[in-house]
């Protein structure tokens, strides 16, 4: 979750891990986020995620890729991402794949990724191969299209919005 910070704001070219995570969860969330509206900065949940990230793996250094800050990368180039969530989600894996893609573009040969869920003491491995690369590139293109759209994407079905920091914004009328 520490990757929520340190984005170059509103830079149309940069698609970071959080963009991808939001895109996979809800395109509308990505659209809003890309316009600089970021309610998560003010929410308890993010503060909580920050605490989890800050206290869980204190010895490793975050890696800053400009458009994305990766929690940590161990030798052998395995991308690690820590989530305060209690449920693994496809959006988390997509985020890690995106980091793999970004690292590879910088000439690093990536082995794969792992998502850590310290609260449930679980990890999820994210393989990195040709399929994963294609999925990552595809997600990146689609995310760019969503960001560029003039109209906001429709809301999810209400049940999909649970825990989303845009809930008050999307449903508060």
């Amino acid at each position: 979750m520490s990757s929520l910070d340190d984005f170059p704001a509103d830079d149309g070219a940069a698609v970071g891990g959080v963009h991808i995570k939001y895109f996979v969860h809800c395109p509308r969330q990505l659209w809003l986020y890309a316009r600089g509206y970021r309610p998560e900065h003010r929410s308890d949940r993010v503060a909580f995620g920050q605490v989890v990230a800050d206290t869980t793996f204190t010895r490793r250094r975050d890696i800053d890729l400009g458009e994305a800050k990766i929690d940590w990368v161990t030798t052998g180039a395995v991308v690690h991402e820590t989530k305060s969530s209690r449920a693994p989600s496809p959006a988390h894996a997509a985020q890690v794949r995106h980091y793999c893609l970004l690292l590879e573009r910088r000439g690093i040969s990536v082995r794969g990724g792992t998502v850590h869920y310290p609260l449930i003491r679980r990890t999820t491995d994210v393989p990195w191969d040709d399929d994963a690369r294609m999925a990552a590139e595809d997600a990146e293109t689609q995310a760019r299209n969503v960001i560029a759209a003039t109209e906001p994407p429709a809301r999810l079905a209400r049940t999909g919005c649970r825990g989303c920091s845009y809930l008050d914004y999307c449903w508060g009328d």
């Binding site: 509206y37 003010r42 929410s43 008050d168 914004y169 508060g172 009328d173």
Partner: protein, 326 residues
């Protein structure tokens, strides 16, 4: 929720210092109170506050606003964090919409009408129906802020006269006066309006909107945060007039809770405490929200109202001002 933390009401003179990651509030009597900085959303100073820069930079870093009310309850100013969550995309649209006279006045008229309807709701009397009717008739012809504000002034004068009939003589407004308020009723309304304004400003600070770019109040208004003034309109009756009526009814305030002088009135320290308690309780009152499908507090209603304007700017969603639905 708009943000973590609570609002702290400083009703007595105090000194504010930093201590580790806490704010230490020292009052002349009694031992100091320590509040973890993350527990604070904003501070409202009703009385003299002595604060040093180290405390201020911690407030700033943690996004805490300090509101200052003057002796008569006017919002005298505020100290707000250097960082904001402003978004260029949102502000650009905000400027475009407010610069378009048609859109600007349409929203201004909607705000004034909502404020009037909410006042009618708060006073709960059909004595205001004729005034409301003529407001509905006259507003569409108002083509600029001044004309709109003129109509709003007319309606409010009528409404305050009606409110007076529901108050004991010593609490009556006998015409609205500010700077300074001339009697207890006016002092009460001034305080409450300033508190609503402070709540709105705090709510706006958690959105990407710019509080100085408004629809209704003109840019030359003494107070520069005209969007906060605008957004306060539909909420003032919910807090100010409604609570005045209720305190009168419940005899919750006494003449001794005010310091009245010839031609000027303000709340006494005790009166300030009572009002702070009253408003806190009111802000935390909850109602069921139909689309959010949960209870929301009055405080959150203000935040949700600010979000409607964000939606207006980001998505062109028509803005319908707040109206109590319960």
């Amino acid at each position: 929720m708009p943000a973590a933390g609570r609002t702290y009401w400083l009703t007595e003179p105090c000194r504010i210092r930093r201590e580790d990651n806490s704010i230490r509030v020292e009052r002349p009597d009694g031992s100091p109170v320590r509040i973890p900085i993350t527990d604070i959303r904003d501070l409202i100073a009703f009385d003299h506050v002595d604060v040093n820069t180290s405390a201020m930079s911690m407030l700033s870093r943690n996004g805490v606003t300090l509101h200052i009310l003057d002796h008569y309850g006017n919002h005298a100013g505020h100290f707000s964090p250097a960082e904001s969550v402003a978004s260029a995309a949102v502000i650009r649209r905000q400027v475009e919409i407010t610069a378009d006279p048609d859109r600007r006045t349409a929203i201004g008229r909607a705000l004034v009408l909502a404020a009037a309807e909410n006042l009618r709701w708060a006073l709960d009397t059909d004595l205001l129906d004729p005034a409301l009717q003529s407001l509905r008739t006259d507003l569409p012809d108002c083509k600029d802020d001044d004309a709109i504000m003129g109509q709003e002034g007319n309606f409010r004068r009528t409404a305050w006269a009606v409110l007076d009939t529901q108050l004991p003589p010593w609490l009556r407004l006998n015409g609205r006066t500010r700077r300074p308020p001339t009697n207890a009723g006016n002092a009460f309304i001034s305080y409450l309006n300033a508190l609503v304004y402070a709540r709105v400003l705090t709510a706006l600070r958690s959105t990407p909107l710019h509080p100085a770019i408004g629809f209704l109040h003109s840019d030359t208004d003494r107070r520069r945060n005209t969007l906060a003034l605008d957004l306060a309109e539909p909420f003032k009756p919910l807090f100010a007039e409604r609570l005045l009526k209720r305190t009168a009814h419940q005899r919750a305030l006494k003449p001794t809770d005010f310091e009245t002088d010839v031609g000027r009135a303000s709340l006494s320290t005790n009166g300030r405490k009572k009002i702070a308690a009253l408003v806190r309780e009111e802000l935390s009152t909850t109602v069921h929200h139909r689309t959010l499908k949960r209870k929301v507090s009055y405080e959150e209603l203000i935040h949700l109202e600010a979000l409607k304007l964000v939606r207006l700017c980001l998505e062109d969603t028509p803005y319908k001002p707040f109206h109590p639905w319960w």
